[in-house]
Symmetry: C2
């Protein structure tokens, strides 16, 4: 640290606010606060927040939490001391997603190199849209996209980082539509026939949201049947395409899934590609969750055929721990379709008389204007552990998921929904009182209430977090997901023990 | 800091990689790296990066910069020492948007409380979609939206933080469309008549991007004429509405602008509201840039009539220095239109049998699934300086802009495009060789080349950054914007001196 800052840090006692009469505008005062806040973050979020002996959450109902936090914004400012306490409180009452017992979402755990990249990104505070204001990040995004495309099997192509996989899926839908009917951009959907998109019943809901948002409408998304494990049935895709045509709609897009949200199912990409080829449809793959299997020599067969797709959504913030948000949309196209589809040629940003090659500017590929820098965190993490290190992490969580399944099979009361393809382990916990009662009329209804009760109990206790949901005719079951390379077999054993501890007195107690 | 971390930090020498054989998975190793990276960020980005004696950018052409950075991703990982050098290099070659001579975009400067909030947000790594995983942030977002709405003059209403003002504008368009024709969500645009939206010629290009993306088409955005200062002409809005109707289109949305991107113009909201009332149109206001004038008693008259709008886009990451990205979309509606328009009712996230009030969950208001936490940085900054402190900052930059205009008028060669309404100061610099030559045939052509040359020179020198652009019939002019409360009259004087230094030998040298 510079002598200036060190002396400033030493001269301040930390309980008073800024001393110079210009509230909160002195850089040294600000840097002193930031450093104190950094220490709180390190202590509360990264040390305690990852400590298995601490709670994963400190649950309070909304009214109670509101009262604890004093969120109100007022005319006057607060002291350094009060503000640091606020940093502590926000940390205290937030869910510890870096905790080894957090299994609730498709993200979990912390990578410190990524986190360093995220702090650096925040401090540099720039936008990804032009080379002029983001020279390092424009080059870095290109390298990253090229590398990820090479893993897909595309020597050429295009891509962009998006604010979420849902947005990537929207991009796919819009680019596919533009390729089929470029006039939509200028004339709108009234100038073209009714369009039809296809995705599986177990695909992510963002495909439906995309169809609504893009003016295509939910009715024009045909939901293709899945098999028992949740994989799209190609024969039904064929039928749904015929059905759409029989209704006068024009098929334009199939969105397959690699790693469905609930069951972690992988659609059969080769067979879907055959159908897309035959029907000349854009083949998109929503691999937001499953894409990271491409790192694993052992498991990448799950995405066999991916190189035949036209586009792909992949979120390194999920299994790779790159941190929210880090989402790429990749295309095989190398005719500048993305830019043609989205460009607006704003003269104030993308001047044609710039002194550097303005093809470096990315703004016209995006539907956003300002766009966060999401590549640095992934890049720094990758530099730290290498492709090998990321592959090891993917293999490790697969192994842990297999371990969990084996351990479950040794215990009474754990019933798999399906043998997992991926690291989603979906299961019912059957409390002793319900075992052997499958024939009873009220069995399903009673079973449906088990997971919500166990969930409430674990939240109020703060011991762990895992999600549950129903799925079509299946009543509520747990979806356990294994993501963080920091977790161990002991955490898996704890998980099973804790489910038993929290649920063994059910159904009597309901 | 905990004794554990302190002892770890002390025991490591900082030049070797992790010691424990499990590469990059030990928390203490990771925290040690993060702390070292934090020091580099403090030193390079926040101390040197804000030092007026340092360069605002260290310009290199793309090929050269690529060679300097070694961006390639490889099989193996790198050492702690190498990785820290990478952090230093990324900082070194990035543009210093916190620097007092950065005037290039509609964001600039640093607020350290906001930055502390951003670091905390990154470390906590959660998603804004449910109360379950973001209890503090769901409550905080609500408080923040309520407070911002109260400044607009809406005692009730709704809202959401979006990844960029462009997305907020898309939300406005989609919600307006849904109110007019709710069947679009399910049946698509084929089920409704051709729609027409209206915005000014100088509005942000995101309105056009939104129309393309949402399937409405560029042709159905009617560009309303502006007066000399860049403000929408209400009479022309009336005419354009008639024109659309005469073409068989159904008007549904007017998007006015408070603070246009180039000239900083404010559309006359009251008169536009009259027209919207009369025609029963959704009135949206894109105040992404100008919205922060609502903090200023002295300047909020620029948005007189805003309470009559139906929705508003406002980016506190611009004038308020909240950090990229911090963008709100606010609505007056209190009938849950936003949720009805965007909901998908995904059972795996938004279970109906949760043990808390699931109306707290925000996911169904968004077209995203995962959504970054963007409220904490604004909240912590607001707690630090209070509403008064933010108001002072807004007033301060207005004053500086007025100062700049006065100083320009005292110098030869600076010609305003218009008297500024806001903190955008648009001007031509006329080099001595072109003064008095306005009558020459090649004057405009020569003038158009002045700004690009001065821009290239300042970038290669690294002395400052400011943008330029043409605007319809007007050739390239500079757009100076004053945002950061850290800048001073001396910085304004430097700006004018530097333009003269860089441009005085033109046009001879071209």
């Amino acid at each position: 640290l510079s002598a200036k800052i060190i002396s400033k840090l030493e001269s301040m006692n930390g309980v008073n606010g800024p001393q110079n009469g210009q509230p909160h505008l002195d850089h040294a005062d600000g840097q002193y606060f930031l450093t104190e806040a950094y220490k709180v973050i390190l202590e509360e979020v990264l040390c305690k927040g990852t400590d298995v002996k601490e709670k994963v959450c400190d649950w309070h109902d909304p009214e109670e939490l509101s009262a604890l936090l004093d969120l109100e914004l007022r005319e006057g400012g607060e002291s350094h001391h009060q503000l640091l306490q606020r940093v502590r409180d926000v940390a205290k009452y937030s869910v510890k997603t870096n905790h080894p017992r957090f299994f609730n979402q498709l993200f979990a755990g912390v990578d410190y190199h990524s986190l360093a990249g995220r702090f650096l990104t925040e401090a540099l505070n720039t936008s990804q849209y032009t080379y002029e204001v983001a020279p390092v990040f424009v080059l870095m995004e290109n390298v990253m996209l090229t590398k990820l495309r090479s893993m897909v099997g595309w020597p050429q192509g295009d891509g962009i980082f998006c604010p979420g996989g849902s947005v990537s899926n929207m991009y796919a839908m819009n680019v596919a539509r533009y390729r089929a009917y470029p006039q939509v951009k200028v004339q709108g959907l009234w100038a073209v026939p009714r369009l039809a998109a296809f995705t599986s019943q177990e695909s992510h809901y963002s495909l439906c949201k995309a169809a609504s948002f893009l003016g295509i409408g939910l009715d024009n998304v045909f939901m293709v049947k899945v098999n028992e494990r949740g994989c799209m049935i190609p024969e039904d895709l064929d039928e749904k395409i015929e059905l759409a045509r029989s209704q006068g709609a024009v098929p334009f897009l199939v969105s397959a899934t690699s790693g469905t949200t609930i069951q972690g199912a992988f659609d059969p990409l080769d067979r879907i590609a055959d159908i897309c080829d035959k029907n000349k449809l854009w083949m998109h793959v929503d691999a937001a969750w499953g894409g990271s299997v491409l790192f694993s020599k052992k498991h990448k067969h799950l995405m066999k055929g991916i190189e035949r797709a036209d586009s792909l959504a992949w979120n390194p913030h999920k299994m790779l721990l790159a941190g929210l948000q880090c989402c790429v949309f990749l295309l095989k196209d190398n005719t500048d379709l993305l830019k043609q589809c989205h460009c607006a040629n704003a003269t104030y940003l993308f001047q044609q008389d710039k002194f550097y090659d303005m093809r470096m500017d990315t703004g016209d590929k995006s539907v956003q204007c300002g766009r966060k820098v999401d590549c640095l965190k992934l890049w720094l993490m990758w530099k730290a552990v290498g492709t090998e290190g990321l592959a090891e992490r993917v293999d490790k969580v697969f192994k842990l998921a297999r371990y969990l399944v084996r351990e479950m099979s040794k215990r009474e009361g754990f019933q798999l929904v399906n043998e997992p393809q991926f690291v989603n382990v979906c299961f019912w916990y059957i409390p002793p009182s319900l075992r052997g009662k499958e024939g009873n009329n009220d069995y399903q209804e009673k079973l449906s209430k088990v997971a919500p009760v166990i969930k409430e109990r674990m939240m109020r206790k703060g011991s762990m977090m895992v999600g549950y949901q129903p799925l079509r005719e299946k009543v509520n079951f747990f979806r356990m997901v294994i993501i963080s390379p920091h977790i161990s077999q002991e955490d898996m054993d704890f998980f099973l023990d804790e489910i038993e501890r929290l649920g063994k007195d059910l159904y009597n107690a309901l």
